[in-house]
Assembly symmetry: C2
Homo-oligomer: 158 residues x 2
């Protein structure tokens, strides 16, 4: 018997809010980042395109910030659901947006290997989540992120 | 008589380090952000593409982080040159990379208007610059950034 296929939180964002360039399943040009639970952490993977460089051989820092940002929003959503007693796929997922993003670039990130982003929620209230993240290339952590996520305000609803 | 056309610092990065996705003139797929002096500040402009959304109607936060990041690196380079007594275009420009990036998203950034990024250097040493930036849409500041830039390390030279 096969293990059940893991589910990504972004696949359960409401259709009206699933167009994010970084992680929206309905954005035809986007990165389509997917955030999965892995125990108490979340994990996402992305392989940069050939043009996603800062200088030749190293990944563009804006992409690193984008991956950490979207994965943190997904982690906040998944954690809010888990706190409410639901796992991914049992309901529509709440949409968080970024209030503050901090990324520390610890060392240059080599271009080539698949990148792995891991995150965990360090603080969770009804309105807000604080998420700590790491980004690794070939098993070596090259960047750390700290992201404040808030529930999407009504002003962003069409 | 016309005023001289302003020069962008990124047009004077050495060819070997002019491939950045955000601001490299030699990246065919990139954003080609250009940083100009405007008095003691620097300024850059960018109009997001139709797919650069977080949710419909609002600009993707990863793009906002990317614009602030690249403009801050350009500002660090221009300020280092000015500290050395040179204006943009008088010499090859030094390349800085991001050590830390912090972005505070003050309010949702409407998708549609051209974005304006402004920055100034608040601290400058031989090795490092600290840059404060704002991002505005339609004249309203929607995000603030604080970026630590360091001279590109030798490990990133091919």
């Amino acid at each position: 018997m096969n293990a059940p296929r893991p589910l990504a939180i972004q696949d359960f964002y409401p259709d009206d809010f699933a167009h994010c360039y970084g992680c929206g399943r309905l954005n035809p040009h986007g990165l389509h980042l997917k955030t999965y639970w892995d125990g108490d952490e979340t994990v996402a993977h992305h392989t940069p395109g050939s043009h996603d460089v800062a200088v030749p051989g190293f990944v563009y820092g804006g992409l690193i910030a984008s991956l950490i940002d979207c994965h943190a929003m997904g982690t906040a959503s998944a954690a809010a659901e888990r706190a409410a007693g639901r796992e991914i796929g049992q309901a529509s997922a709440p949409r968080f947006v970024t209030a503050a993003l901090r990324v520390d670039y610890l060392k240059p990130t080599p271009h080539g290997p698949e990148l792995e982003v891991r995150a965990r929620v360090t603080e969770l209230t009804a309105r807000k989540a604080v998420v700590s993240a790491t980004l690794a290339a070939g098993g070596v952590i090259t960047a750390r992120g700290e992201v404040v996520a808030v529930r999407m305000p009504d002003t962003m609803r069409g």
